[in-house]
Symmetry: C2
Subunit: 332 residues, 2 copies
């Protein structure tokens, strides 16, 4: 059995930089036609010069693959309309991080007053640039996304024409918001469709399944599955594939992030097949995103075939999700 995906897209990926970029980017570029690239490298991508240079490093890392890196800037609250108008030629979106909430987000937003965000968000709204948000407060770790709901609501209502994408949603409260408020959209990761917090810490503690936002309860996973399997039009696949070297994961201070790039599409096939929803996969991994972002990716056919895929224990120094396990689909 085979299925052919037309221009699958990863609408949220961390390609990192330097040696890690060279190691991981080819696994995204092999199976996807394009990906929204997160800007939280060090230093975060806040200027067009940095952005162009980073894009060049990415293109070099992926080599010959037919793949478009869709660039994003790290949100600043004082950008002018003119800057963003110029930026729009080079970016697909702007990514907003609350300060200190995940890897390299120290320079993020610490105050969500509308008046503080207004200069940038008003211009983005006028220019139709989507705002991508890592939606977590600095509250108790299991409540952070739920607590952030008030900010999603506040921003969405203050800028009703701004497309706001709730990135990597994990909480059933976000699903409720998505359905309630017109200009809220969302990405969902593979791992949040598969894991609850029990998988991370219910038995032994699994650092390679530790990510932010942390995996939640069974009810939360069910709510996400229901959206994804039915390819709800306001959601898109975004892997949040986030590699760290093995020694940063299996250490006394494990960095947050699950690396799924090489296994994402096979595992999605397995999941959608299990629920007899393979027909919806094309929408989830590409069509919905094209509609939400209003763009056409490059043409690229990606064939997935039923058959054993023994996931390597590591790819150089990075351990993937499902390391050493067998998947029942593989990328051709």
């Amino acid at each position: 059995m085979k299925i052919t995906l037309n221009s699958p897209l990863d609408m949220h990926v961390h390609l990192r930089d330097g040696e890690m970029l060279n190691n991981v980017a080819p696994y995204s570029s092999k199976c996807f036609a394009g990906a929204i690239v997160m800007p939280n490298i060090l230093p975060p991508v806040t200027t067009l010069e940095e952005l162009k240079a980073y894009k060049n490093r990415i293109l070099k890392a992926i080599g010959e693959d037919k793949f478009e890196p869709y660039m994003t800037l790290f949100f600043k609250n004082n950008w002018t309309y003119e800057f963003l108008k110029e930026a729009k030629h080079f970016i697909k979106a702007v990514k907003l991080y609350p300060s200190g909430i995940t890897t390299n987000s120290e320079n993020g937003v610490s105050d969500f007053k509308i008046e503080n965000l207004k200069p940038t968000l008003e211009a983005m709204s006028d220019l139709n640039i989507p705002l991508l948000v890592h939606g977590e407060t600095n509250g108790f770790v299991m409540d952070r996304e739920k607590e952030f709901g008030v900010f999603y609501k506040k921003i969405a209502l203050a800028f009703p024409k701004l497309k706001i994408i709730m990135e990597h949603i994990t909480d059933r409260n976000s699903v409720k918001l998505l359905k309630e408020i017109d200009n809220l959209y969302a990405t969902i990761t593979l791992h949040h469709l598969l894991l609850t917090f029990d998988d991370v810490a219910g038995g032994k503690l699994k650092p390679h399944l530790f990510c932010k936002p942390i995996a939640k309860r069974y009810e939360d996973k069910e709510a996400l599955l229901e959206l994804a399997l039915n390819a709800y039009p306001k959601i898109m696949f975004g892997s949040d594939s986030a590699p760290h070297p093995q020694n940063k994961k299996e250490s006394n201070e494990c960095a947050a992030g699950i690396w799924t790039a090489p296994i994402a599409l096979p595992a999605l096939c397995e999941l959608f097949e299990k629920y007899n929803k393979l027909d919806n996969l094309q929408k989830f991994v590409s069509d919905n995103a094209q509609n939400i972002y209003n763009f056409k990716p490059i043409e690229k056919k990606v064939v997935l075939e039923k058959g054993e895929f023994l996931v390597p224990e590591k790819y150089n120094n990075v351990v993937p999700m499902f390391a050493g396990k067998k998947l029942s689909w593989k990328c051709n």
Copy 2:
């Protein structure tokens, strides 16, 4: 400044076996007059022969220190009155584990029907042998202790003369049960007085702070603190100090357990001093336990002194809580 504790007791400790026993036991025997020793070694201690042999290995490991290991058996639901009557000469309590809930608990109880537990529990009740319980279901990891509440209640009401000790409580629901039901008692660890789940996974993931039951919410920690700082008569200190080699903690599958033996009393002094409750420490670390278990430990004065204690990064291959940090009290 100095304080002298009379016969401090650790009412829940894992001394392990073999090389690990030899490494860790001296840190319990140095500062405590005695400790309730958990029986979940491999194989679990279920016979008196095993128990006597294990006790001898412990005594050998601690050498010259004045210290009593109070032995426990791993609960079996088919013991006779005669067996337990004989056992009573050698044990202080029996420890019940739900099956598969923590380290080496695979042979624990999987069915909490009163009729199944009755042979052993009735005899224990008649013989006045305390029942120590690891109170977690196999439900969602954050809910396990709360869910176990129905079993605590059921067993406590079915055997009203049996002293039941809810080990290492972490959930405010257990505090409520403790206050409601006469024959329920509890131990509280140091780490659950200091940590919430945010400390374990709110920033980076900290394998050395991962334990079962997992640290919970701020409200839970506050409820435990209120009991401990006021030396509520039905609670006792039990460290649940549970060493694992560093390579089993900083790995792709981190074992549950925090090793606090060498830092427990200094950290308790620091904590009780912070809340201006040092006067209650003697009760929390010894007197309450003597009343609940109705016994007299050996006489041993342990002096703690105000002064910098730089906690070693490791003790051989085991990383303690507060590794590399400074405490403001030390054991003399």
